[in-house]
């Protein structure tokens, strides 16, 4: 072992994790406030605008956003969708979705959202310090057991979210992503807490760095797309209700882009995550060959990693299959993420297998 254990450092790390969770909680409230406030402000503006604009315009805007759910599927049909529908970049009064399809920042000021993002950045800095001190305390990469995988995974999810925020206005995802990060941090500290310690020999390999880091990164991306797919389902339901002349009960959802643009962006992120998961599977197989003598043995963890891979492969294919775009694809993305969660929680703790490294 190259480094020793530093338990003081480990205690600092735990303190940082708690502080980060606290900061995220405030950020979460700010994000929620932003959704409520901005949507009320928008409603007020639109009420005024509606008096000037004839009501006939509403269904038209709805129709554009609803195309994902109509049967205009198929590769050729879809090829035209992303670019042609990316036309409206600025909020148009009267539509039920004010967020632009390309998810660029608009000129409108959203003070609570700014506060929320600033708090998330602060939380991420503290969180990052927690991850680094954990690594220093253990003298190795901070993903050797479930506690470390969760805390590091939550950090990566937040970091990816903040990185995407630089170029795209995904602040509508804030409550979701920050909320999930809080859940992950709390679950790690309450259910999976493990003191700093050495790695068991089975984990002492450079493949731990390669295999698990890609798994963490892919899981973080799947977390983002899970949030987007869930929102897509809500948005698509809302768009249908409003298009059918129903009452819009979820006013705050107007800050969220249309179901179609959510679907397109989550497809792009899922494609990256799928490649990452393919690498996770492959590097895992190479490591398994080195550690156990066979590259594939249907160990429970291998089974579930394979199941996740197949579900997301199905998702990618669904987008090219008539009748499977839109809502069904979103469900596949959600099922895939539930498998990721199941693989991490239930399989790690309750299934016997070679991957029993929970550290519990």
């Amino acid at each position: 072992m190259p480094f020793g254990i530093n338990e003081t450092m480990g205690q600092y790390s735990e303190l940082f994790m708690l502080l980060a969770a606290g900061t995220y909680t405030v950020a979460f409230i700010a994000f929620a406030w932003d959704l409520a406030k901005s949507s009320r402000a928008l409603q007020a503006i639109e009420l005024k605008a509606a008096q000037a604009v004839e009501p006939a315009k509403v269904p038209a805007a709805v129709g554009a956003g609803n195309r994902a759910e109509s049967s205009v599927g198929g590769p050729a049909g879809r090829a035209e969708r992303p670019s042609s529908s990316a036309a409206s970049g600025t909020p148009v009064g009267g539509g039920i979705v004010t967020a632009g399809a390309d998810m660029k920042y608009s000129a409108a000021r959203r003070a609570p959202a700014r506060v929320a993002v600033a708090l998330t950045v602060l939380g991420a800095l503290i969180h990052g310090a927690g991850v680094v001190t954990r690594a220093l305390g253990a003298g190795r990469v901070p993903w050797g057991n479930m506690y470390e995988f969760l805390t590091t995974g939550a950090f990566v999810a937040i970091a990816v979210f903040l990185l995407v925020l630089i170029r795209r206005d995904l602040r509508f995802l804030g409550t979701f992503v920050v909320g999930l990060a809080i859940i992950m941090l709390v679950a790690a500290s309450v259910a999976y807490w493990t003191p700093v310690g050495h790695l068991v020999p089975a984990l002492q390999s450079y493949w731990l760095i390669i295999h698990v880091s890609i798994a963490v990164l892919s899981s973080a991306l799947f977390t983002l797309t899970f949030a987007m797919s869930a929102l897509q389902l809500v948005q698509s339901h809302r768009q249908k209700t409003v298009a059918a002349g129903g009452e819009d009960k979820l006013g705050f959802m107007r800050l969220v882009p249309s179901a179609l643009s959510l679907e397109n962006l989550s497809y792009r992120i899922n494609a990256i995550a799928f490649i990452g998961w393919t690498f996770t599977l492959m590097f895992g197989a190479i490591w398994a060959e080195k550690a156990w003598g066979r590259f594939w043995g249907w160990d429970t963890k291998e089974v579930w990693t394979f199941v996740i891979w197949v579900v997301y492969a199905g998702y990618l294919h669904a987008r090219a299959t008539r009748g499977w775009t839109g809502t069904r694809a979103a469900w596949l993305s959600i099922v895939g993420y539930l498998c990721v969660v199941f693989n991490f929680t239930i399989v790690n703790q309750f299934f016997n297998g070679l991957h029993s490294y929970s550290g519990l």
């Binding site: 670019s83 050495h198 020999p201 002492q204 299959t321």
Partner: protein, 588 residues
């Protein structure tokens, strides 16, 4: 996979349901065997079926993680069936303990791969043809394409329509398009261009490589073999069939495949964690010093075998998979002769190397002897008299045994598990509930058995390792195909297949009118960016200012264009001009 899904037959009449139902009724009996096969093949290779099979495969893989699996651990399966008399046998008949070699799992993945082949082959042929043919003809109305734009070259620039098209050709070729010019000297020359054909190549490589991975796995199953062996310090393993404790040959295995190399375990060291509080005493390093020989005549070589660091020898890999303690004992029989001398492999049972010990002494005379008990590296005894191991290292090694005499049943020829002893037919000599009590030994101590049955000495403790030996000729190919699959996947997801067309014409007033359109095949969120980039390049080529409106927000700060939008307006009706004022970008 198959793009056939796109073809949907439109119902011709409002009462099409009735008609088609009637048709189906009428048509079905007429379907011959050939048509049925064709119908089945079309169904099987459709994207929808492939997707269904893919999701079914995911579902079918799950039970293998819920129930114990024979290939992984056959004894657990036997125990599970015993523990669940109500449904254990039923699950077995459904092959739920052999999920991954079951009929139903195999059927799903074989159908999936047949579907995949049925998809890949026609697509490969179609793509080969596409790669050899020219880009598709220029559509009549470019304005209907998802990306469309126009440019106007002023008359005084001196660039006629044919020159303009040639300029566009060079420019698109540089951008990686393959380009064909049509009607170069006509009134309205045009070009068709296409790029990103490697997207489909990547897609085909990905799917073909998956077949390659499957074949590689099958190859390993046919010609591979694997086995286990326990080696106590000082033991030597020779790679012959008798050298293995357990051996699993592949379907086509031949014993001549085994190269007679040897591995001797010289010493085995464990480092325990003495630093952290939570994991105190957890092993953090296993290291086996071994001496290897490629063949009986080869020079000896010192090597270190560790977890995650196998030794390769004679086409096999040798893995360190287990370890434990082997107390060394000497047992004398009732006649006073040494009936057994050597290390006894103790099987791990609990924390801190709390291990079970079974000693069978069939050579003891006049009575065969048997011992059963525990080995504790650091023995502690609770107030209730329960002994446990307080540490994994040898701080206070102790052997606690019961002893028996009688017929061990080994002479009948039926195989026995060396780690278990059936004491049913034996007479107990030592046990806690007997007057003689149990046997408790520290290293160096000797215990004389009651009734002159002999004695047992605890001479010392050695360590043993469990090694797995594997030979899998398929795994290198599996790796190569897996890498190919990833490369193909990345190509298919990140190369964008695009078609572009440019058409030029001369306006009555001498201006050269240019229109262009782009179309993507498959997912392409960057098509608008590509259209903007091509527009900028074309404008530069002809010395025009790019139109900020067309180029999206990346050009927002550039100087306002003076020419294009206004000059578009005065295209008279009937003029053979390509520029139509109502491009899709206009109706924002």
């Amino acid at each position: 996979m198959s793009e056939r899904v796109n073809v949907k037959k439109k119902s011709p009449a409002p009462d099409a349901d009735k008609v088609s139902a009637a048709k189906a009724d009428a048509a079905l009996p007429a379907l011959g065997a050939k048509e049925m096969l064709r119908f089945a093949w079309t169904q099987l290779t459709s994207m929808r079926t492939a997707l269904f099979l893919l999701l079914l495969l995911a579902v079918a893989a799950v039970p293998g993680s819920l129930f114990p699996q024979r290939p992984a651990n056959p004894s657990v399966v036997t125990q599970y069936i015993k523990d669940h008399p109500d449904y254990g046998k039923l699950l077995d008949s459904l092959q739920l303990y052999d999920v991954y070699s079951s009929v139903w799992f195999s059927a799903i993945y074989l159908l999936l791969f047949i579907s995949l082949i049925g998809c890949v082959v026609p697509r490969a042929i179609a793509h080969y043809k596409a790669m050899r043919s020219q880009p598709p003809r220029t559509p009549k109305r470019l304005s209907r394409l998802p990306e469309y734009g126009t440019l106007v070259i002023p008359a005084d620039a001196g660039i006629p329509a044919s020159d303009a098209i040639h300029g566009a050709v060079g420019l698109l070729r540089k951008r990686g398009y393959r380009v064909e010019v049509r009607d170069a000297d006509g009134a309205r020359p045009s070009l068709g261009a296409e790029r990103g054909l490697s997207k489909e190549v990547g897609n085909l490589i990905f799917h073909t490589s998956l077949i390659g991975v499957l074949v590689s796995v099958a190859l390993g199953g046919l010609f591979g073999y694997s086995g286990q062996r326990i080696l106590v310090e000082g033991d030597t393993f020779v790679n012959t069939l008798v050298g293995y404790d357990q051996f699993t040959p592949g379907t086509n295995f031949q014993s001549s495949q085994l190269q007679p190399y040897s591995v001797q375990l010289d010493k085995f060291d464990i480092t325990f964690d003495r630093e952290s509080q939570g994991k105190f005493g957890q092993p953090i390093d296993f290291s086996a010093a071994v001496t290897t020989k490629e063949n009986p005549d080869a020079p000896a070589k010192k090597e270190t075998l560790k977890v995650n660091d196998p030794i390769t020898l004679g086409g096999t890999s040798i893995y360190l998979t287990g370890n434990g303690y082997a107390p060394v004992v000497t047992i004398r029989d009732g006649d006073g002769n040494v009936a057994m001398q050597g290390p006894v492999v103790a099987k791990l049972q609990g924390d801190n190397y709390y291990s079970s010990v079974v000693i069978k002494v069939p050579d003891a005379k006049p009575d065969q002897l048997g011992f059963q008990g525990f080995f504790l590296p650091t023995a502690f005894v609770t107030e209730q008299g329960v002994s446990f191991s307080g540490d994994p290292a040898l701080f206070n090694p102790q052997l606690s045994l019961n002893s028996y005499y009688g017929d061990l049943g080994l002479d009948t020829g039926s195989p026995q598990n060396v780690f278990e002893i059936d004491v049913k037919d034996l007479t107990p000599l030592n046990a806690r509930n007997l007057d003689a009590g149990g046997i408790t030994l520290s290293p160096g101590a000797t215990y004389t058995l009651p009734d002159g049955k002999g004695s047992i000495s605890f001479d010392g403790v050695k360590r043993y390792v469990g090694v797995d030996i594997h030979h899998n000729p398929g795994q290198l190919y599996a790796l190569i195909f897996a890498l190919l699959a990833v490369a193909g996947l990345i190509l298919s997801l990140y190369v964008n297949r695009r078609r572009a067309w440019v058409r030029t014409g001369t306006h009555d007033d001498g201006r050269t009118m240019v229109e262009y359109g782009l179309l993507a095949r498959g997912e392409d969120h960057r098509l608008a960016g590509e259209a903007a980039a091509i527009r900028t390049l074309l404008a530069q080529e002809w010395g025009l200012a790019a139109d900020p409106q067309q180029d999206g927000d990346r050009q927002e700060d550039s100087t306002q264009s003076q020419q294009t939008p206004s000059s578009l307006g005065d295209n008279g009706a009937g003029t053979p001009t390509p520029a139509s004022p109502a491009g899709p970008e206009k109706d924002q």
